[in-house]
Subunit: 145 residues, 2 copies
DNA sequence: CTTCTAGTTAAAGTTAACTCTAATCCTAGC
DNA sequence: GCTAGGATTAGAGTTAACTTTAACTAGAAG
């Protein structure tokens, strides 16, 4: 084989370790068009550092709520070049705005969860009266719901 | 029927509106043992304000990453009374600790997503050189990955 | 040469959390 | 009394995102 050796090349197993995904998941992502690994002369996939950067970014997008479908669309636009930058910006902004709302809700849930733990602890060590149920307790803290 | 009318009673459709869930989802949650609505004399479900509080709390737990299975366990312990408070506290603390980590990762993803948007905008209006790709840009900002 | 490990494929299976269907029943308004 | 809307049930179907299976090949180690 005469592949260039200037960059690191990962076979699928190693790349799985690097990215934290499994080999089947990498093949699945490929089938969905999210990543296009190179091939050695005898047909084995290999991935480069650039592929690693892309997967890491993709996983960030995924964790902010983007679905595989949306990522697919993003990849298509990316492949179409600079003429689709506006579309990509719009998509990312949408994702960001949605995430912003969910994030705020998650913070609220975090508060409630901690309130519940405090309430349990107060109950156990007697700082909170038996008569005060959790929703009364929340009202006292001014934490609605 | 001779049900007490001292508290508000919701039929399943109204309760769905109150909680933001659908009627089928409420029946599903019931089948899973997450909620036990009362019944009118002729067999219709009805829900009270207490049930609403419980569902709201349950949804908070769910959004912090608790699965239906875990919620089921929580409900079982809750029904067993004060002797299981320690178990419930341990479960909630587990959930909280896990959520704390995920929350930190989400914040990081949020940062990267915003960096990407800034990078796109810098590219579009020429503030960022064509030669600087996104991973270089992240390094410059000292935002790893 | 055999065995082990890691790769290949297409396609079927899994899991969580709903969501829908079908057949039936109850209730309120005209 | 009739009809429309919403209730009941058991059980089948859906969706997203993997995950596993089966059947195979290629290369390295002993």
């Amino acid at each position: 084989m005469d592949t260039k050796t200037s960059e690191i090349q990962y076979r699928i197993g190693d790349f799985a370790e690097v990215t934290g995904l499994s080999s089947p998941t990498l093949r699945y992502y490929e089938k969905e068009g999210l990543i296009k690994p190179h091939r050695t002369d005898n047909g084995l996939r290999y991935y480069t550092e650039q592929d690693a950067n892309w997967i890491k970014f993709l996983l960030h997008l995924k964790s902010t709520g983007m679905t595989i479908e949306q990522l697919k669309q993003y990849v298509i636009w990316r492949a179409e070049g600079d003429s689709t930058i506006d579309k990509r910006i719009a998509l990312l902004q949408d994702v960001r705005d949605n995430f912003e709302k969910e994030f705020a809700e998650l913070q609220h849930s975090w508060t409630i969860l901690n309130d519940k733990l405090d309430w349990y602890k107060g109950k156990v060590n007697g700082h909170i009266e038996d008569s005060e149920d959790f929703s009364k307790y929340l009202k006292r803290l001014n934490h609605h719901e």
